[in-house]
């Protein structure tokens, strides 16, 4: 696949997106929500639903061609497209992690439906105009949020040596696979630790809106 250049798919229309929303199963919706919860830390979104809604708006904009996120509906399941769109929105920063992401995800044993398509999609995932348009004020706010949220995550797992080890390795720029190797975790152990991290973060940021 030619990197950075989406294939010439039949472009999704507004109705395609609306139909895909209607066709979501309970399991699909749950997976989207779990993904949004896992991506929320460090973003300006107050609730997982806000991040999901933003992804819908980007997808709808994408049907116009020049803006938003284009859903290559022939190649990528809607749920996979939405998950990657949410992740891109959550990152929303100038530093791109796409290459490291792709490296890390290659070779991963995947059980979730549509995961292969996610990996496939990563190959031509490109940054949007919106991603590049963050101004200095937004940059400052994003970095401040990141520090606060990263500190909260550190505090949450202060008593969990295994998750703390994984987080520390990530801070040092090591891949999760490298962290697993260094600590001597078995695959099963690593998956358990990873799940604890993901679920802990989700519970830490269920919604930021103050009462």
């Amino acid at each position: 696949m030619e990197s950075g250049k989406p294939p010439n798919d039949d472009p999704a229309t507004d109705d395609d997106i609306r139909d895909a929303i209607e066709a979501l199963t309970e399991d699909d919706a749950l997976r989207l929500r779990k993904a949004a919860q896992g991506f929320l830390a460090g973003t300006e979104y107050q609730d997982p639903k806000e991040l999901i809604n933003e992804a819908v708006l980007r997808a709808m904009d994408g049907t116009l061609g020049s803006h938003g996120r284009h859903w290559p509906k022939q190649r990528v399941p809607f749920v996979a497209f939405m998950i990657m769109t949410m992740m891109s929105i959550a990152d929303g920063s100038r530093e791109s992690h796409l290459m490291s992401r792709t490296d890390r995800l290659e070779g991963l044993s995947l059980k979730g439906e549509g995961a292969d398509h996610v990996l496939d999609y990563l190959g031509f995932w490109t940054r949007s105009v919106e991603d590049e348009a963050l101004d200095a004020e937004e940059e400052a706010a994003a970095t401040a949020r990141a520090k606060v949220d990263a500190d909260r995550i550190d505090a949450l797992f202060a008593g969990d040596q295994e998750v703390s080890w994984l987080v520390m390795c990530i801070k040092e720029g090591k891949s999760p696979a490298k962290a697993r190797e260094l600590a001597g975790f078995t695959t099963t152990e690593y998956e358990t630790i990873r799940k604890r991290l993901r679920r802990g973060v989700a519970k830490l940021f269920p919604g930021r809106r103050s009462a």
């Binding site: 507004d14 109705d15 609306r18 929303i21 209607e22 979501l24 309970e26 399991d27 919706a29 749950l30 997976r31 989207l32 929500r33 779990k34 993904a35 896992g38 991506f39 830390a41 460090g42 639903k49 999901i52 809604n53 819908v56 708006l57 709808m60 904009d61 116009l64 998950i83 992740m87 959550a90 990152d91 920063s93 530093e95 992690h97 490291s100 992401r101 995800l105 991963l108 044993s109 995947l110 059980k111 979730g112 995961a115 996610v118 994003a142 970095t143 990141a146 520090k147 990263a150 995550i153 990530i170 801070k171 720029g173 999760p176 998956e191 990873r194 799940k195 991290l197 993901r198 973060v201």
Partner: protein, 138 residues
């Protein structure tokens, strides 16, 4: 660690979350939700309703912007289409709505329309290219 690196750290943690989400079966995710005391059906219904509304909002915004572009033009350049008689105008609009469900969604709150509403709607649809004035002008 610098503040910029905190962002990199959170982005990397998102990758870990993504790995886990993709590696977790539907049944396991459902069990997690149930263990957390969530009503899966209610969560899914709520989420779908929100997504449905977000899609509708995008369409409404698009129509509103098209209308704003039309009204922002000088009157001389507005080029408002010649409207057909009211009954024909309504029929044209209903045909367009029948052939394009997204428009129906965008206007779903307008169940009863005055003649002025019909005329305004007709102008909007012409502006959007959904109705060609020439198609009814003899």
């Amino acid at each position: 660690m610098t503040e910029l690196n905190h962002r990199a750290e959170l982005a990397a943690l998102r990758v870990v979350a993504l790995e886990d989400i993709l590696s977790t079966s539907d049944a396991e995710l459902r069990k997690e939700a149930v263990d957390d005391g969530e009503d899966v059906a209610a969560v899914a219904a709520d989420l779908k309703a929100a997504m449905r509304e977000a899609a509708a909002a995008a369409l409404r915004q698009r129509l509103s912007q098209a209308k704003a572009r039309m009204t922002a033009r000088p009157a001389a350049d507005l080029g408002r289409p010649v409207r057909p008689p009211m009954e024909q105008l309504k029929q044209l609009i209903q045909e367009v709505f029948a052939s394009d469900r997204s428009l129906g969604l965008a206007f779903r709150e307008g169940k009863r329309q005055s003649d002025a509403d019909w005329e305004s709607l007709y102008d909007d649809l012409v502006a959007l290219g959904k109705i060609q004035p020439a198609s009814h002008e003899d």
